[in-house]
């Protein structure tokens, strides 16, 4: 059992997480007591049929929604107790997001998109620029730094989004169906890149996905059914 102090602290820990929609009318129990621990460096996929509660779970551990009951700890902080303002800052500094679409600001270049989040953190302009270039190089977009999203392919846009997610030095990256709009080659490239970041930099990735290609690459697969964890499977995956 991970402690709540020191470096051994879990990245994410939930205790009896419940979420009920429409509690006064027709209650819908989206989560029914989810206990979950995710450690640093995990490459985890959360899967399950529609309505299983994975959306709700990701919203809550991403600090975008509040649980009805239970607690969600990020690095030991109970995020359900944070105010709106604290939560925004918490997301900015602790969580990296990669969404399915609408990830990037269309009027900014790849470099500016990555830089933007660091600017919001109040880091010096020079550092933002250098770090952004470094991250874009890391995701294989060295020659695309001055391109706008509309000039990039879907796969390239998702890679910029990953670079942006990493730019804020988060505790983990939440990726919502990151491959949903990508072809096989782009999906493979994106997964390779994220797997490499996971291995080399020990970055924690949590995916919500239906994509078997993503599930096949995950080292841990958590399956939700009816708001409960149905299975939690650790696997050894060939990173190649």
């Amino acid at each position: 059992m991970p402690t709540q102090n020191g470096n051994n602290m879990s990245v994410i820990r939930t205790e009896g997480l419940t979420k009920v929609y429409n509690p006064d009318q027709v209650p819908v129990h989206a989560l029914n007591g989810v206990d979950l621990t995710i450690e640093k460096g995990e490459f985890t996929a959360i899967v399950g049929p529609s309505g299983s509660g994975k959306t709700t779970l990701l919203n809550i551990i991403g600090g975008l929604d509040e649980p009805t009951g239970g607690k969600a700890f990020i690095r030991g902080t109970d995020i359900s107790t944070l105010s709106d303002r604290e939560l925004i800052n918490f997301r900015l500094n602790h969580i990296g997001f990669v969404f399915q679409s609408f990830n990037l600001i269309p009027v900014l270049t790849a470099l500016e998109n990555v830089s933007f989040i660091m600017q919001m953190q109040g880091r010096p302009a020079k550092e933002c620029r250098e770090k952004s270039i470094e991250l874009l190089e890391e995701v294989g977009l060295k020659d695309k730094i001055n391109k706008r999203p509309s000039e990039l392919s879907g796969g390239q846009q998702q890679r910029v989004a990953v670079a942006r997610a990493l730019a804020s030095k988060p505790d983990f990256v939440l990726a919502d169906e990151p491959t949903a709009n990508l072809d096989s080659v782009s999906t493979a490239e994106l997964l390779d890149m994220m797997a490499e970041l996971n291995e080399v930099e020990d970055m924690t990735f949590i995916f919500s996905t239906h994509d078997q290609r993503v599930i096949d690459r995950a080292r841990r697969v958590i399956t939700l059914v009816d708001g409960k964890i149905d299975s939690d499977e650790e696997r050894t995956v060939d990173s190649g």
Partner: protein, 410 residues
């Protein structure tokens, strides 16, 4: 960070160039229309006040206290010649003109009409009082001193009485002994001023002719004074009243309350014109900015989700509006200034509407003009309008819940 928010706001403006272009043109036209309409209205009111004051009222008038009650010719100003000479050397007085006045009936073979008769020293009087009427002469000439009983009438009276140049007409009025008297006059000239009421109700004859028929010598019932500055008229009137306690001295504000009202309300009227235009502008900007926010719901949700706080989101939307305004407003300002400068020199001819305008005493040639303070105020109004317009869309942007805006995970 501010630099980045500024940059993002500016780039967002050009995200949809057509829509932004429409707002910029709206702001441009709004600013231009605000300036031009205000300048036009200002020019119209200024011309109205100036025209009325030049033609009939002057800045200050001196009369015998009871004269205005019944226009009794006996109530002439005592020692008027001396008073006029004194006034001519008064440094606060620009021009002085003395006239005899009678009210009576103008008759022709066809009709008759009540008029006010001004007896003026047409040949020697070079004051604005005479000059302004001379400016409106349409036919013929001013009555000459060597030709007895010549008269100058307005075109509206000429039409009413069926008179033409050199037609004969009779003026009958009360003389100094209280008897009804009359004189036959020949029309020497016909004027057509901007004010049809004046053209119908006032006639001008030589002072000597009027005084002779009135039965008095050197009668002066009214001394009109013009100064350099309309605003100083009140002070001058008070000074003259103190030095001439037996006479009645009135400034234009007392003589013509309608003009005073127009003058006092001028500022308010101009600001009303501005406000009406600005209200239109506000709704146009709100509409566009709201569209700009609503169509970016997911993007704004994403920004909020990754950690853009409320104040930055608010600032970004506000800055977009400010940029839209900053592009349109200076161009509108410049165009407005150019339009006012051009038409201020050449005038806008509204003679097609002369009948209506003259009925209200307005000139048909409008020279728009606008003081610097109005330009500054219009810019200020537009800036405030832009900020007010941005408030609601910016507020709407803040109401977006990131989780709903990005359509949730999955």
């Amino acid at each position: 960070m501010l630099k980045y928010i500024l940059k993002l706001g500016w780039k967002n403006v050009w995200r949809n160039p057509t829509r932004s272009g429409v707002v910029i043109i709206t702001v441009l036209l709004g600013t231009w229309a605000g300036i031009f309409a205000t300048g036009f209205f200002n020019g119209m009111l200024n011309d109205y006040i100036k025209g009325q004051i030049n033609l009939t009222v002057g800045h200050v008038q001196i009369m015998y206290p009871e004269f205005e009650d019944l226009y009794n010719p006996n109530y002439a100003i005592p020692n008027a010649e001396n008073l006029i000479r004194t006034l001519q050397v008064n440094p606060d007085v620009d021009e002085v003109s003395g006239k005899s006045v009678a009210t009576g009936l103008a008759q022709s073979a066809r009709n008759s009409f009540g008029v006010t008769i001004w007896g003026m020293d047409i040949e020697n009087d070079t004051s604005v009082s005479v000059r302004s009427i001379k400016g409106y002469l349409e036919e013929g000439d001013f009555p000459e001193a060597e030709n007895r009983n010549q008269i100058l009438i307005g075109d509206d009276l000429a039409e009413r009485l069926g008179l033409e140049l050199r037609s004969r007409m009779v003026l009958s009025f009360q003389d100094v002994s209280g008897d009804l008297t009359a004189g036959a006059f020949r029309v020497a000239g016909i004027f057509d001023s901007f004010d049809s009421r004046f053209d119908e109700n006032f006639v001008v004859v030589n002072k000597a002719d009027l005084n002779r028929i009135l039965g008095g010598k050197n009668l002066t019932h009214n001394i009109r004074i013009d100064t350099d500055d309309l605003m100083t008229a009140g002070v001058l009137a008070e000074q003259l009243q103190d030095s001439n306690p037996d006479l009645e001295v009135k400034s234009w504000r007392e003589i013509a309350p309608d003009l005073r009202y127009v003058f006092d309300m001028q500022d308010l009227s101009l600001y009303l014109v501005m406000i009406i235009i600005i209200i239109g502008l506000i709704f146009s900007i709100i509409n566009t900015m709201l569209m700009a926010v609503m169509e970016r719901t997911r993007e704004l949700g994403m920004l909020r989700a990754i950690g853009m706080n409320k104040s930055r989101t608010f600032s970004m939307v506000m800055l977009e509006t400010v940029f839209l305004t900053l592009v349109g407003s200076p161009v509108g300002l410049l165009l407005g200034w150019l339009t006012i400068t051009y038409f201020g020199a050449s005038g806008i001819d509204l003679s097609a509407f002369s009948e209506g305008l003259e009925g209200w005493g307005f000139t048909t040639m409008i020279y728009p003009s606008l003081a610097l303070k109005y330009y500054l105020n219009i810019v200020l109004f537009v800036a405030v309008a832009a900020l007010i317009s941005a408030l609601y869309p910016a507020w709407r942007a803040l109401q977006l819940r990131p989780v709903e805006a990005i359509r949730k995970f999955n």
